[in-house]
Each structure stands twice: as structure tokens, then as C-alpha cells.
Point group: C2
């Protein structure tokens, strides 16, 4: 069993390797790859050792072969039918997102509860009523559902997905979902990367002193 | 200096603590918080020790105070003026995303090169021509830019942002950006979480054997 933290880094390595391959690079050292993926090289080597991948001394890793090993381990060499529920701006953007298709995720259906959207074509797929969920899950053997609805609708959509046999949910709605044992939910927080930038920006701008002063002012009478 | 990997986890802890606080929980053990954040508790304690936060034996961490410490460290207790360039579906979704505002990120301007979009109001902000970038950065002292354009426009937008003095860029476009030393770029890959779900789904569905067979078929004559 691969540790969860390693599982979470495998897609990041895969993305870095794809960028290297796109630039015509055939072999790379663990230092190169670690730097491209934003981890230290000891951790990278440890992670890859779970895949039985150790590279070649003095040569490094074969970029294409390592991509294949990681993609196989994650399972993105398989075809994953995905359904997206909630075709607002975010649902539109997700339906058009090229990064899903290139990783083996195939959007088989777009569903919404709003009659005004039904029948519209988005990214070549016709928007269907949410009530078609059962038939779609059965026909396409969908295992992964994406929720891009407003917060208030998310739990209801998740309940219906689970009842139809979906066992993995990617949740973009700003809501915490409750699901039974055996169902995986991952929540995307679009502000995480922005917070990491803010951390560095704060330091560039004059550092912890300024930050602490602003923090003290902002939380006056607050948490502390 | 806090290690980069710890910096990347601080927003995740902050999100988990906010969820605990929303549920009325005032104190938590390192195990509770580690589990909510999806890391092991030894790593959590190590990470928090960089902030000088050790909890109280037998009691754990004060949820509100730890939120304050982490938010201060990241800098999200400050006000961060942000500009979004590219107001397609993704730009619309980002402009409406409540998670930015609640973390101290204030969208001060929405810019697009498409004349058809100029003057439209999105999330209460009027879309302005991309050429207004200089004035907006100067007026609002913007340090963080968000790129939500198509791939072909992203590098040009990044160049203009850097020329105007923006030093942190969050890139949603499927393009690799080149920026000078001192400018931080973070790229959001919306498929990362989906890949982590696929890994678990593959194992639920019958595991490595099936995955390996599919992989062998899919890469026939390919990488290996």
C-alpha cells in the first residue's frame, strides 16, 4: 500500500514529467525532477521506490518509462467516464477543461436541474436533466462524479450519486459533504494556491513584522 | 524559514480548522486535526512547531487561536488586492468564488481583451479592457495576478503583469509560463484531485491487476 501523501504527489510528478517530455527531455536526474515537482529529491526517490522505480546511477530516470509507470499506478491509463453535475460557469469551465481529457477522464454527461440549460450543448455534450443521473451511471458505468453546483444543492446531489452507485466524488461546491463509508470525496479549494502565493508575497513585501502588525489590527478583539 | 512543503500544507490546516470551528468545535487533538487535513499527526505536529504552536498536553489545540496563528503566518489576515485576466467561464467562476473573499483576497478588477465583454458586470465588478492593467495595478497596489485566459494568451499576459510590477501569478491557463527571478508562479491543475480519486477507484474496482492489464493495452508499442 502506497502512503496517501505519496499518492497525492504522483499526479504532480506525472505533470512535471509531461512538461519535461514536451521539452524533448528523455532522461532526468532525481534532482531535476524533484525541482520541477517542487519537492526535495530524497522524498522523490522515496516516493518512486514504492513503484519499484530507482533510476539508473549516473543516468537518472527514463522520462517516458517513468511516466508510464506512474500513470499505470494511478490508473490514468484507463478510461474513466465522469459525470459533471451543475453547469454554471464553473461546470462550463470544467466541461471545456483539456486537462481532464488528456489524463483519461472522459466527460460522458453534463447534468443540471435548471430547465433553461437542458438541451444546450457545452464542449460538444448536451446538458441533460439531473433526473437522468441513474440511466447515465448505468449506461456508462460511471464511477466518478463531479459536483459544481451551488453549496445548498451539493449534499442532495452527493446523496443521489451515492444511491446510484458512484463511489468517488470531486466536490467543487463550497460545502462539506457527508457520505457513507467506502465513498471517497475530495474537495477542491481554489484558494489554496493563492494562499501559498500570499505567504511568499508577504515575505517579499517586508516580511513577518508587517504581517504580524496587520494581523494584530485585523483580529483586534478576535480569536486570541 | 518554514520549509516549502509545510507552507503548502498551512492552507489545508486552515481549511480543516475553519470546518471544525463551523461545527462548534473549540479544541482538537493533533490526531483530529491531522485526520481532517489528511496528513499523519507526527507531520502535523512538526509543521505546527515551525509556528511555535505545540498545543496543550491532554487538551490539544485551541481551534480559534491556531486559526489565527496560521492565518497570520500565511498572511491572509492582510487584504490582498487581486486582478483576474480572462473573463471566460473560468474567469466568471473565479470572480464569483466565495473562497477568495473569505481568505482576504479582494478582486479589484476583471480584465479581458474581448470588446464584447467590456462593460459587463460580473460578481459586482465591471469588466475592463486589458490595457487598463497598468492603471489598476498602480491604483490598487496589486501584487497578485490571476490568469484565466486561453493557453495562447497566457505568456503575453504574464509578461505584461510582470512589467507592471506584479510579483505573484496564479496561472489557470494550460501553459507553462516563463518569468524572471523574483516572480512566483503557481499553476492550478484541476485534474490532480481527480487523479487521486482514480487511484483509489482503481483499487476499489479490483485493483492493480486490472489496472496493469489496461495500462499494457493502452501503451502497446508506446513508452516502454
Amino acid at each position: 500500500m502506497i502512503p496517501e501523501a505519496t499518492v497525492a504527489r504522483l499526479p504532480v510528478y506525472l505533470r512535471a514529467l509531461t512538461a519535461l517530455a514536451d521539452n524533448g527531455i528523455r532522461t532526468c536526474s532525481s534532482e531535476d525532477l524533484a525541482s520541477a515537482a517542487g519537492v526535495n529529491s530524497a522524498k522523490l526517490r522515496k516516493d518512486l521506490s514504492y513503484l519499484g522505480s530507482y533510476g539508473t546511477r549516473g543516468v537518472g530516470y527514463d522520462v517516458d518509462y517513468l511516466r508510464y509507470q506512474i500513470a499505470r499506478e494511478i490508473g490514468v491509463t484507463q478510461d474513466w467516464p465522469v459525470v459533471i453535475v451543475g453547469i454554471g460557469n464553473l461546470g462550463h469551465a470544467l466541461a471545456n477543461y483539456s486537462g481532464f481529457r488528456s489524463r483519461g477522464f472522459r466527460v460522458v454527461a453534463l447534468l443540471d436541474a435548471d430547465p433553461a440549460l437542458i438541451g444546450q450543448t457545452v464542449a460538444g455534450v448536451e446538458v441533460q436533466p439531473f433526473d437522468d443521473l441513474e440511466e447515465i451511471v448505468r449506461t456508462h458505468d460511471v464511477a466518478i462524479g463531479v459536483i459544481a453546483t451551488p453549496a445548498f444543492a451539493a449534499q442532495d446531489v452527493a446523496d443521489r450519486m451515492v444511491a446510484m452507485g458512484i463511489t468517488s466524488i470531486l466536490n467543487f461546491a463550497p460545502a462539506v459533504l457527508t457520505v457513507p463509508e467506502g465513498v471517497d470525496v475530495r474537495k477542491v479549494d481554489l484558494s489554496i494556491e493563492l494562499q501559498i502565493l500570499a505567504y511568499h508575497e508577504q515575505r517579499k513585501a517586508g516580511g513577518a513584522t508587517q504581517g504580524a502588525a496587520a494581523a494584530a489590527a485585523a483580529t483586534d478583539g478576535g480569536a486570541a
